[in-house]
Symmetry: C2
Subunit: 321 residues, 2 copies
């Protein structure tokens, strides 16, 4: 949520000369995304977003993300489309950073999603999974179950200082999840970070999905589990069953879940919550001095885990077969 | 340069319903302006800037600023035009802050102005002074000569820690400027903060002036002196005489300076530099913990003052009569 890199008018004008998108009319640094610098660009040909990738995005992952957005946009998914420069290349460099221009998507993120938003999200998520089916690249999910133990080790000693008993609760979750993590579920490209910030609506209609920088190859149902966590709980841990039911039924209207996926949903939801608890906890304990970004509260996910620990069946999340 | 106040989609949609500018398509927090929260707004009727005024802008000054922008825009000056709501009122309230929507201006700020930019600026500045001639409101310049002694007192004890000898140099400048500050020069509405950030160009053409939140009633030539400081020096204090000549001649192409103004130019330039030195010094010494904004270097103006102390005539700034 900050402009980490200043870009001068001269540097930007030179950079834009390499693209066939007209001349610069305006650009503004925008508070979008946590880890990159983003500018709203207005040129004689339209509106765009310019992203400069800061250090937390690995440059070697960028071709996966950019090719994926191009692939999905070509299949009709409403997502930012990378603009290729005059040499046919989408990935450029500006002010010493990898830099990309993508098409601008209209739409607004909802802070308090209603069941209709969740139903639209479910449809779009399944559409993404289908549109990615013939995408030729692969990227492992480096924040899946194998990463949780090492992440926990970084935070373990300080965890009880954040919330009494937190270390023990995480240890118990790991002991359940590691041996029982589902294998062999239907898999492919997943978004893996489809929080409300990354989904746009115009009025009640879903207008687009953004921020593919956690996208990877993993189980489709795990992506649904992430969305159930991100869209269907209050910060205090209260689960909204009506939102969950709408999200799942929207998803199944496009891509019905298999029996294995339905059976795995509670453990996937619990794992997804643990993943966000752990990454948030590590960030919370490692705020650099002078940070421009307020870290997100890890305990929101500790409270969601209370619900997940008691959930036994997909029906507990609103699935009604 | 930060979003100090988060605005939810629901709060913004409710706020916009009070205006006749269509429905919301998109909004982004932008890193524009140092002291307020600004959003780029896109609606079905076009593009706008939404500003929420944070604590450093005095609410009682807002009618002056808003009426002035409306007055100037009506006289053809390219500046943001406040949008009145359905009740005919431009000043609203959103998230507990005074809030205003203005028209969006295309254009880009130049980081390294060339003489042609300075000439265009001079013309626009004189145009602003002429367009403001029949503006009915008045606002004293609370950062003029009378304020400098009190500002200096806040910073005096720590000044030499910022740069050895700084306190003595400022004291000597005050001793020269206070008794010799020009009175009775042609006066009216001035912008008083026309730094490069606040002037937009499209290609080589000046496309607009923004950020009227220091505008006040004062000598026109003082506004020109502020621009000479802001546009015609390097950070190391080097004066670009070609830029100064272009700025002054551009100004005089629209509004010729009087003899008194020409004679006063060196002392006005020295005063303008001292004003920015002092406000930057106070900010520099009072950065709040957790500040999102990097304070600007006061010593840039100490170095400009070295030039001003040696300047005797308008010709030293490029004026050629």
């Amino acid at each position: 949520m900050a402009v980490y890199t200043e870009v001068s008018d001269e540097a930007l004008t030179t950079f834009l000369a390499g693209y066939g998108i007209g001349t610069l009319l305006s650009y503004k640094g925008i508070a979008e995304g946590v880890e990159n610098t983003n500018f709203y660009l207005h040129t004689t040909s339209g509106s765009y977003i310019l992203t400069l990738y800061e250090k937390r995005v690995r440059a070697e992952d960028l071709p996966f993300f950019l090719n994926l957005m191009e692939h999905l946009a070509a299949r009709g998914l409403a997502c930012p489309q990378p603009i290729r420069n005059r040499d046919g290349v989408a990935l450029g460099e500006l002010c010493g950073r990898p830099a990309v221009i993508v098409s601008f998507l209209d739409g607004v993120s909802v802070k308090r999603p209603q069941p209709d938003h969740c139903r639209a999200l479910g449809r779009a998520l399944a559409g993404l999974h289908e549109a990615g089916a013939d995408f030729g690249m692969r990227r492992d999910n480096n924040l899946s179950v194998a990463s949780w133990e090492p992440l926990f080790r970084i935070a373990e000693a300080q965890a009880d200082g954040v919330s009494p008993g937190l270390a023990g609760r995480v240890r118990a979750d790991l002991a359940v999840l590691q041996p029982n993590w589902p294998r062999g579920l239907p898999a492919g490209v997943i978004h893996a970070d489809l929080f409300t910030d990354n989904v746009f609506f115009i009025g009640d209609d879903l207008s687009g999905l953004i921020d593919f920088y956690f996208a990877c190859t993993d189980s489709f149902a795990y992506d649904l589990a992430i969305c159930l966590n991100a869209w269907c709980f209050e910060a205090d841990g209260t689960f909204h069953r009506d939102r969950g039911a709408a999200l799942i039924s929207g998803y199944e209207a496009v891509r019905p879940l298999t029996e294995d996926e339905i059976a795995a949903l509670p453990v996937l939801c619990r794992g997804a919550a643990l993943r966000f608890l752990l990454t948030r906890l590590v960030d919370w304990l490692n705020v650099p001095p002078g940070a421009l970004v307020q870290p997100k509260d890890p305990l929101e996910y500790d409270r969601r885990l209370t619900f997940h620990r008691g959930a036994k069946r997909a029906a507990d999340y609103g699935w009604s077969g």
